[in-house]
Structures are given as C-alpha cells and as structure tokens.
C-alpha cells in the first residue's frame, strides 16, 4: 500500500511544483469528410468534429477532478486540410472558409486549440497546398483557436525551398494582419522538418494520414518537478544527476500514462501515444531554463548549455520510455523563449541569442520556438532562418521547427506581451546580413546521404 511519504511527494509535485498533464489531444481523421462541394465539405467537417469530440472536455474535467491532477488543455488535431480541401477548394478564400468551420467546431466542443490547418509539402506543393499556405494569414487572423503548420522537409525527401521562400512572406503577412495583438497570429504557425504524425502539442499538432480514425494522444509536463528533484543533488556527479532526472521523468510520465488510458477508456477512443516532452509555461517554477541553471549554468545560453540540454533531453527520454506503453510525438525538452520565464530572463540578461538557440535545437526537440524578432526583418531573412533550422532536422534525422514572431512596429530590446500560456518576450536581434540570393533560388535541397556520418 502507498505510504504517507509517497502520498506527500505526489501531492507536493502537483501543489508546489506545477506537475500537470499539459494536454489531452484527440486526433480526428477528416478523410471521410472529403467532398468536391465546399458547402458539403464544411458541413461534414463540422459534424464529424462535434460528434467525435463532444465529450472530450467533459471527460478531461472528470479525470482532473477524480485524480486531483490538473489537465491544462483539451485539444483537437485533424488531418492536414491541404489534403482534405484539395478537391473542393478552388482558391485561398475557400480554404479560409474551412478554417472558420474548424474554429466554430472548436468553440462548440469547448477545446482551446485545434491544429491541422496544415500542409505536408516536404518534396513539393500541390496547387491546393499552395493555396492553403497562401490562406494562412487570413485563416489565422479571422479565427481564434485554429493552428496552422507546414512541413517543408524531411530526412528522406530533402527540403522544399520554394515552400520556405513562400513561408517567409506568409509569416510577415500573418504578423501584419495581427499587428494589433503584437503579431500574435504567428504564434499559431509552425514550420516543420520531419513533423511527427501524432504530436499532441500546439501549434504544430495535426492528425497524420498514417493514423486511425480517432486517437487520444497525451502530453505530460513537469519541468518544476525535475528542477526541485535536482535541488537535492547539487554538486553531485553526472551519474547521480542523470539518475535523478530519469527517476523523476519516470514518475511524471506514469501520471500521463494513467490519464491517457483513462481518457481513452472513457471516450471509447484508442490510446495513441504519450509525448514525453518537458513543456514549460511562463509560470515561475515551470521552466526548462531553470533546470539548466540547476544543472550548473548561470543562465541558459552560457557555454555548456548545449551539453546540459543534451543530457537533460536524453535522460527524460530514458526515464519516460519505460513508463509508457507507447511513446511518440516530439518527446524531448521544449525550449520556447516566451513561454519559459528562465529563457526570458536569459534573453533579457543578454546570455541567450538566436544562434545559441539554434545550436540548442540540435540536441533537443523542437526548434526555434516562440521567438520575437524585429517587425522589419526581411522575408528572405526569415526564410533563411527557417532553412537553417530545417537543415539541422534533415541532416540529424530529427524533428525541428520554427515559430518566429516578427513583431510589427517593434525593434530589438522592446518587449512583447502575448498573454496566458504564450507568455511575454523581449524582441531578439537577427543577423542582418542578406541571404536574398540564396533564398531566391528555385527548387529543393536534395535529401542527405545516410552514410559517412561525420
């Protein structure tokens, strides 16, 4: 039987160290909604989502109450709309109408984000997918809960540079259309390389075509728990440090596994995967950067940061893998800037720059995330940053992503407030030298060789 020390440890994790289940995300396939008639398609989509997910929020709340564990978000991911709308949508505004339908469905079932206004164009874009990408600025500025993502590359296919060139402009356009809210629209747009089909985390979640009809994916959290556990092993060897992270990750993941199984059972929807990512929030004590400091850095970004992060990421996976029957999604440590108070502190202190963040993304999931940059950054420069990040993903056979927010009307040193889980961020400097000629080349970067790994 559970003893009092174990009970107190669990309660303390929840009440004082911000342990929570970050999201229960229901993946819903929209493949059976496809119609060549736009009105019919919109109707099918609305009906399918509101039927499949009608109990999602209620069941999430019940589990939360019964087990006393906060479940912060209930969300939905759908099949990439670039595929679903291909037959019915003649132009970008047709795609915008689908985004509005998704938004209505999200509001009806009470979820706080719906991902899947997406296109998978790692080798090339169909006309429909190009129309969807061009619709993104209007879709994100005219909806509240819809998230968009574009997968522009993979280790097997190389990188679609035409899509990256287009996305540089699309990101700026999204920023412009949402400039009244500090260009918040860009926080709902992720550009991926090697995007997983089963990621439960927003803004990049979509329900891949390899998935079944409906599925429950769960994302756990717990940077605060890891940080507190590490406080008790200050000055100890790497062996002790790593063991402590592993054990803590195991405990955190087991809670996620329990919630995932319960949600799956009560909703009658198969359990897909558990995502092991350490996901921070702007709340004090819920920061991945603070773990890096606890490992021994003055600030995230100091020399040693990449090594410390590599160690952390690997131990979280090692501890988490045994705790869950199916692990998937992104599974690593997230290093968003605006959503992590420790990262914000590091950026404000001048310890953390874009280039160091890029290096950090080589050893952890996911990428350059929630970084505010000057609003007057050129589209080609944004494309260049994306291309760099995609190349890291392609060559290292890992998922990488970019979620940059060019804040219209703001420059380096100014601060942006996104609110809620999205947090706030200082506008970070971008290397001002041009890559225009590189980005204006047409076509794609070939897939890398998989031998001679040096």
């Amino acid at each position: 039987m559970i003893n009092i020390l174990e009970a107190t440890e669990t309660v303390k994790m929840i009440t004082q160290e911000n342990l929570d289940v970050r999201t229960i995300t229901m993946g819903i396939s929209l493949l059976d909604c496809i119609s060549s008639d736009l009105r019919q398609l919109n109707e099918n989509i609305y009906r399918k989502i509101t039927t499949c997910a009608k109990d999602l929020v209620k069941v999430g709340n019940e589990i939360e109450k019964e087990y006393g564990i906060p479940i912060v978000n209930k969300r939905i991911s759908v099949t990439p709309i670039g595929l679903i709308g291909a037959s019915a949508c003649r132009n970008s505004s047709d795609f915008v109408s689908i985004a509005q339908t998704l938004d209505r469905a999200a509001k009806e079932v009470g979820v706080n984000f719906l991902g899947g206004f997406s296109a998978v164009v790692s080798k090339g874009m169909t006309k429909a997918e190009e129309n969807l990408i061009r619709a993104i600025p209007y879709a994100l500025s005219s909806t509240d809960f819809v998230c968009a993502s574009v997968n522009v590359g993979s280790t097997k296919t190389g990188i679609d540079m035409d899509a990256i060139r287009l996305l540089g402009q699309i990101i700026l356009q999204t920023a412009e259309l949402t400039k009244e809210n500090d260009s918040l629209g860009c926080a709902k747009l992720v550009v991926f390389c090697n995007a997983p089909d089963d990621n439960p985390f927003m803004a990049g979640a979509f329900h891949g075509v390899t998935e079944g009809d409906t599925v429950i994916n769960v994302g756990v959290s717990g940077p605060g728990v890891v940080k507190t556990a590490l406080e008790s092993v200050r000055g100890e060897s790497f062996e002790v440090l790593c063991e402590t992270i592993k054990k803590t990750a195991f405990k955190v993941t087991r809670v996620g596994q329990l919630v995932a199984q319960e949600a799956s059972k009560r909703l009658g929807v198969p359990f897909g995967i558990l995502d092991l990512s350490l996901a921070p929030t702007p709340a004090v004590g819920d920061s991945v950067a603070d773990i890096l400091c606890e490992i021994g850095l003055e600030y995230a970004g100091a020399p040693g940061t990449t090594a410390a992060l590599a160690l952390l990421n690997d131990q979280v996976k090692k501890g988490g893998v045994m705790a869950s029957s199916y692990v998937g999604g992104l599974s690593g440590a997230f290093i968003p800037v605006s959503e992590d108070q420790g990262m914000i502190n590091a950026a404000e202190a001048g310890a953390l720059h874009l280039e160091k963040l890029e290096a950090m993304t080589c050893v952890c999931s996911v990428g350059l995330d929630m970084i505010a940059i000057p609003g007057d950054t050129e589209a080609s420069t944004i494309s260049g940053i994306i291309a760099d990040e995609m190349a890291i993903g392609m060559v290292n056979a890992k998922t990488t992503a970019v979620r940059l927010i060019p804040v219209i009307g703001k420059g380096v040193g100014e601060s942006v407030e996104f609110g809620g889980l999205l947090g706030h961020a200082p506008v970070m400097a971008v290397n001002g030298f041009s890559c225009k000629e590189f980005i204006s080349r047409k076509g794609r970067i070939p897939a890398p060789i998989h031998s001679f790994k040096n």
Binding site: T10, T15, E66
Partner: protein, 90 residues
Amino acid sequence: MKKIIITVVGKDTVGIIARVCTYLADNRVNILDISQTIVGGYFNMMMVADPEQSTKDTGTIADELGNVGREMGLSIRVMGEDIFNAMHRI
C-alpha cells in the same frame, strides 16, 4: 472498488481528524487506513478510504473536503488511489 487517498497538510490543531472523519461518516465513505506524522510542526495525514457506499462522486467529495480544510486553515486533497500506484509502483 476504486479507493481514494485523502491527504491533509497544515498547522497542527485540535480536532483535525475528528472533522475529516465526521464528514466521511456523514457521507458514508469507509476509512480503510489512517497514518499521520508531524514534520517540522506541520501535521501530515493520509487516509485510504472507500467511497463505494457514498452517494457523492469523488469530485464532489474533493470539493467539499477542500472547503472543510479551508475553514480549518489546512490543505485537504482527495485523489484516486491509481495516481499514487502509477507513480510509485512498477
């Protein structure tokens, strides 16, 4: 049978166990085990209980016992036993 675990943490005072037990008795929740300790002047208690006979669900019991706790300046949490087993038992 889905057991619940009730944890009580706070400054030690007269009648904590009595108040919690009275609530549980009134609501037909059967107590299976109680352990308690004082750490640094703070009262820590854990109860394993069976709510099978109760007409109230775990969520309601959690809310109402939470209120009892607030009246006494204590933190009282009610959680399904499974979460503790998941975390501490392989």
